[in-house]
């Protein structure tokens, strides 16, 4: 859309938005537009780095309430302006980029904890709250959300809901879609609706699950209630070094299928063990580093830990002990800070996917081969970071130390690798993504993944958002 800033229509729309949220909370200056034109997606980063023109919003609007969100969406419908919700802006898939201009609807002023219910053990909060703040506030009341994603410091609750995010302890406590109990949503036409606030129901399909993962294409989630947990009496970790990743995968799967209920298992392949485990944790070994943890009453944790250790010991392992496991836990966020995290001029991408235990290893190798076929010099590393009853998630990454200097060539190469790797994952039993979402980056593959079922999603989108104002061009839905 990109309105002409000097047109009177631009000023008319700005006046309408200002009337809703107040002078201080509508911006259109260069500095704020810049900040909202780059998220954590590598493509806008390289575009910026190489001095290319970025696409930003026409207006950045910061509503305080669901009612204000509703009014903003009504203005957007009147003028047929795209609206892109923006939380922490730390998404890696380009989901929050206002690629067609219009309104960036920044949710961070909706950041209050509204209620902590110690009887039902839930917390209700506005969705612009940063996850770490939510955790701190819940801690003050003696509880924990048990949601510890790498981006806890920078992503909002709404951001996690938008793309079905996950935290380190997902194996025991679930992904965000397991944690959320109910939500308030402003639909694209401005209705404020609520999903059912009960643990389970048989009152029709679960609307909450429709909006979880909708990435701002079906509305704006403004409030959410989620489970909270007591602070565990004990939390213990243990680490092992397997001679190869295959054995580590077998052991991890057996821990899960034995229903030992770990809070976390993480298995790093040999290349990532050599690269990142050495660099971040200082553990310099050849092999596959595996760490797991349990939490709860101490005597229960000790039994679980002992049984899990026994499963690992059935393979040729080096026992790195509890201390090495604790070091990993203490440094779990360090991986994502500069200079430990990959950064330009490197080209890098997290090819995260998920499959059942029968297929996950094949997915790992298929993606590896696809990356190497496209760009033999690319490094391919990975770890298996979220484990479930019948499968696990693969957090694979490709890294190119010196991508082409020309931004168009660099992006073309980048997209080619993504296309090949993700299509290889799908062909071998994986999916597009496990917890970073689809966004702009992977939308083109949604139709292939879902087949005729994608028409169902398109139908829902069209019904809820007849003017296609909500985050167009994302999640595989049509552009503006």
């Amino acid at each position: 859309m990109l309105l002409n800033r000097k047109s009177y229509l631009y000023q008319m729309i700005k006046s309408e938005l200002t009337w809703i949220v107040g002078d201080d909370y509508v911006q259109s200056d260069d500095a704020e537009k810049l900040g909202h034109s780059i998220d954590y997606y590598w493509v806008p980063e390289v575009w910026h780095d190489r001095g290319q023109k970025l696409t930003g919003p026409d207006f950045i609007v910061h509503p305080k309430t669901a009612e204000e969100v509703s009014k903003i969406l009504q203005v957007a419908n009147t003028h047929k302006i795209p609206v892109t919700p923006w939380g922490g802006g730390a998404g890696s898939q380009g989901g929050a980029l206002p690629i067609y201009g219009g309104i960036a609807l920044d949710t961070k002023r909706m950041n209050k904890v509204l209620n902590i219910d110690p009887i039902s053990m839930t917390v209700t909060a506005e969705t612009g709250i940063i996850a770490q703040h939510l955790e701190w506030e819940v801690n003050k009341a003696g509880f924990s959300t048990m949601h510890f994603p790498a981006s806890i410091a920078c992503s909002t609750l709404g951001g996690f809901i938008a793309h079905r995010g996950t935290g380190v302890l997902s194996t025991k406590y679930g992904k965000i879609e397991d944690m959320i109990t109910s939500m308030e949503v402003v639909t694209p036409t401005g209705d404020i609706i609520n999903t059912l606030p009960v643990p389970r129901h048989a009152s029709g399909p679960d609307l909450a699950q429709l909006f979880l993962g909708s990435e701002g294409t079906l509305g704006v989630v403004t409030k959410a209630t989620m489970k909270i947990h007591p602070i565990p009496e004990s939390r213990k970790f243990h680490a092992f070094l397997f001679s190869n990743m295959h054995d580590g995968l077998e052991a991890g799967a057996k821990i899960m299928t034995s229903r030992l209920n770990p809070s976390v298992i993480r298995l790093y392949d040999n290349p990532e063990t050599a690269k990142l485990i050495k660099r971040v944790l200082g553990i310099d070994r050849v092999g596959s580093y595996l760490v797991f943890g349990f939490d709860g009453p101490e005597e229960v944790v000790d039994i679980q830990l002992e049984k899990a250790c026994k499963i690992c010991s059935e393979h040729g392992i080096e026992d790195l002990g509890t201390e090495s496991g604790q070091v990993w836990w203490d440094n779990r966020y360090k991986f994502y800070y500069p200079p430990y995290m990959f950064q330009l001029p490197q080209a890098f991408g997290t090819l995260d996917t998920v499959a059942d235990f029968s297929h996950i290893e094949a997915v790992y190798h298929a993606m590896h081969d696809a990356v190497k076929e496209q760009y033999p010099k690319a490094a391919y590393i990975g770890h298996f970071s979220h484990w479930y009853d019948w499968g696990c998630m693969l957090y694979a990454r490709f890294i190119i130390e010196q991508p082409p200097q020309d931004p168009e060539e660099a992006v073309a190469l980048y997209n080619r690798i993504w296309d090949a790797a993700i299509r290889a994952a799908i062909a071998n039993g994986g999916v597009i993504n496990e917890h970073h979402g689809v966004g702009l980056k992977l939308g083109r593959m949604m139709r292939d993944l879902h087949g005729p079922a994608f028409k169902v999603l398109e139908g829902i989108k069209k019904t809820l958002d007849p003017n296609n104002i909500m985050n167009p061009g994302k999640l595989g839905f049509s552009g503006y």
């Binding site: 500095a31 900040g35 940063i130 801690n139 410091a153 920078c154 500069p338």
Partner: protein
């Protein structure tokens, strides 16, 4: 350009989000430009094209920065985003494109003069922020340590340096140092944390023992107190100097301290790190104070105790209903 010494910071911070939860101003405005990432992106634009230094949207964003240092303290690699902003302000001033309110405000600190009064071996720096806005801090200090000399007249260059006026800051510091030396005192008490950091970090007075008020009061024999206080740490003491003296003093005096807000990492100083926000961008300070007021109400905080006259001024101006005292007043009770 001055900013060039922090190119590593630009590269590290421009696409990094990992400290935004501790960017005080961004937490109340929601603006990306109020985060270290937002400012590093602006710096990167200027790095790529020097003409961008004249963009007043960028200049305003750089002058609105809270400079709390909380993000730098949190960063596992301690990237100095505060240093980057301060160097960028020097470049802005060198180019003569600083906002007019900044120009006007800076004038009062240029070419200062200092006077010394009183008798004693200890010299107390009656900084203008205390003399004009929080004289009760000096009154409390006088009660605890009546025998001392006082130096006053103006700031010692701190504000000028923070605003990007490096040459004028150096000149002011030189005059201040000369006056201190002429006093003959070997101990200087600096109750203004920003000035304390300025003097310490530049090592302006290598032959003088420079102490903040709490450090000095720790050396005195002060009667024990009782009661509960909620400390709000100073940005300059906690994040810049890693100095924990105010809490140590309050604990030594017998006060029970309760953690204010939701985390020790967050800055609740209402823009103290900027030193000038309450004068130049009062609308932002009002928002920062509102967050403090909300936390005070939600967590039923009683008396807040602050180490900085700046924070006291901000809270008194925008939340007069809050009970706020300084460390000095807590000691003199």
């Amino acid at each position: 350009m001055n900013m060039d010494k922090h190119l590593d910071v630009i590269n590290a911070c421009r696409y990094c989000f990992m400290c935004r939860h501790l960017a005080p101003l961004a937490l109340v405005t929601g603006k990306e430009t109020d985060t270290p990432r937002g400012r590093a992106l602006i710096a990167d634009q200027i790095r790529m094209n020097k003409e961008n230094l004249k963009n007043q949207d960028y200049v305003q964003a750089l002058y609105q920065a809270d400079l709390s240092g909380a993000c730098r303290t949190h960063c596992v690699s301690s990237y100095d985003e505060v240093g980057l902003v301060l160097e960028l302000r020097k470049d802005i001033v060198d180019a003569g494109v600083q906002p007019q309110p900044v120009k006007d405000f800076a004038q009062q600190f240029i070419n200062p003069s200092f006077t010394i009064t009183g008798e004693g071996d200890v010299l107390y720096f009656n900084h203008p922020c205390i003399k004009v806005h929080a004289p009760e801090m000096k009154t409390a200090f006088d009660k605890l340590a009546p025998k001392h000399k006082t130096i006053e007249g103006n700031d010692c260059g701190t504000a000028l340096q923070i605003l990007g006026y490096q040459k004028q800051a150096d000149e002011a510091a030189e005059k201040f140092v000369k006056a201190v030396k002429e006093s003959g005192c070997k101990t200087l008490v600096v109750p203004q944390p920003a000035a304390f950091h300025f003097i310490k970090s530049k090592n302006l007075l290598p032959d003088v023992k420079v102490l903040n008020t709490a450090e000095f009061l720790l050396t005195l024999d002060i009667p024990k107190k009782s009661g509960t206080l909620w400390p709000i740490d100073s940005d300059f003491l906690k994040n810049y100097q890693k100095n924990n003296a105010p809490r140590k003093l309050l604990e030594k005096l017998g006060y029970k301290l309760k953690e204010f807000g939701i985390t020790h990492e967050e800055s609740y100083t209402c823009g103290e790190g900027s030193m000038t926000m309450v004068f130049l961008y009062p609308e932002n300070v009002a928002k920062l104070v509102e967050r403090v007021r909300e936390f005070a109400e939600r967590y039923e905080a009683g008396t807040l105790v602050v180490a900085s006259p700046y924070t006291k001024l901000a809270l008194r101006t925008y939340a007069p209903e809050l009970d706020v005292i300084s460390v000095e007043e807590a000691a003199a009770r």
